[in-house]
Symmetry: C2
Subunit: 213 residues, 2 copies
């Protein structure tokens, strides 16, 4: 793969390409032109070509892209040909929802454990997995080569839990806590700030209403 | 408010400003310069000033911004001074998690109901609210001036449910279904594609590992 820096904007679009290509593949479609893909995805064909050129272009234009090949290649770029050991910190509603949502095992995400600091939850089974005390988190991360931790805990404890994870070798954090984590640059963080997202929605609703007036 | 078009990138940053300002306010801080805000938020001071200038600038530079005023003003821009009637479609784990997560009532989000198509869930109480059959959704939206619907249903039904919501007057959709909805331009949609997000994380993990090699 090229070593040139690829913008986070391009990277942010890759999973969407992957999703659409997966659907095309499931529909048995073998080839697609950038124009056809553009029509389905509502982005310009030139944007698509430009994005793909960051990765060498993925083959003949005009002739169209091979759907399955493109799907596989983008999957590899996204690291989905590897497996990832993943734990969830916080066995509340959101943690449970994500554990159950993780039928993405076929994408290589292996759900290895779920931790909480509430003794009432210890031993509770979530997808065949007993909730463990958070005190066991550090050794578990080390001994099971955990790559990714999903944080669904309040922001008050998120920062200190993140530090403990980092100290024990975590590579990435999928952060649902309502705070921007301060971790070393080598640790990859992807934030899902739910209330930021819903506020963007209310902004756009009001914006539209004001324009209508 | 100005009528000029403000980019979605700027809008995407507003909730984060709002979040940090809320924390500063809670800490009793009355004034902050763009440089101090820049240090805390890890964006440049010029970016901050540029963003704020989209909305008239919010007062004296050099002298610093009044925290509470800025917090209130950004809140208004985000539409948070209004109330929003909100329903959740899909009473599975994620729907329940979001219902419980909605302590953002103080932000004006009023949780009005939760719907599902699984009879086993009808009548189940989620935050004092009984799960209703999805057949009742349309009349409920009309009769209760519902503004926002949260979709936590499989992608196979998301498109048709979205259409039914739109036909009955919904203004915005907070979409957790794994599909990009095709709705009229007047309907505001904010997507939370969880698997897109986790793939971005794996991309960055692998990218980092390749760079290290």
């Amino acid at each position: 793969m090229e070593n040139k820096e690829i913008s986070q904007a391009v990277i942010g679009r890759l999973p969407r390409y992957f999703r659409y290509l997966g659907e095309l593949k499931d529909q048995g479609i073998e080839r697609i032109s950038s124009q056809e893909l553009s029509d389905i995805m509502d982005v310009t064909a030139s944007q698509i070509r430009q994005d793909f050129n960051n990765f060498g272009g993925f083959g003949q234009q005009g002739y169209g892209y091979k759907v399955e090949y493109l799907y596989e290649e983008i999957g590899k770029i996204l690291g989905l040909d590897k497996t990832h050991n993943l734990i969830i910190i916080g066995a509340g509603n959101l943690g449970q929802a994500l554990a159950n949502y993780m039928n993405f095992e076929r994408r290589g995400f292996l759900f290895r454990g779920i931790f909480d600091n509430d003794p009432a939850l210890y031993g509770k089974k979530i997808r065949e997995m007993e909730v463990k005390p958070i005190e066991e988190m550090e050794s578990f991360v080390r001994e099971n080569q955990i790559d990714i931790a999903v944080l669904t805990i309040p922001k008050s404890s998120a920062e200190s839990v993140a530090k403990r994870l980092v100290d024990n070798g975590i590579k990435g954090i999928w952060n649902f806590a309502h705070v921007d984590l301060d971790v070393p640059k080598r640790i990859q963080v992807e934030n899902v700030h739910l209330s930021d997202s819903v506020m963007k929605l209310t902004y756009n609703i009001h914006r539209y209403e004001q324009e209508e007036k």
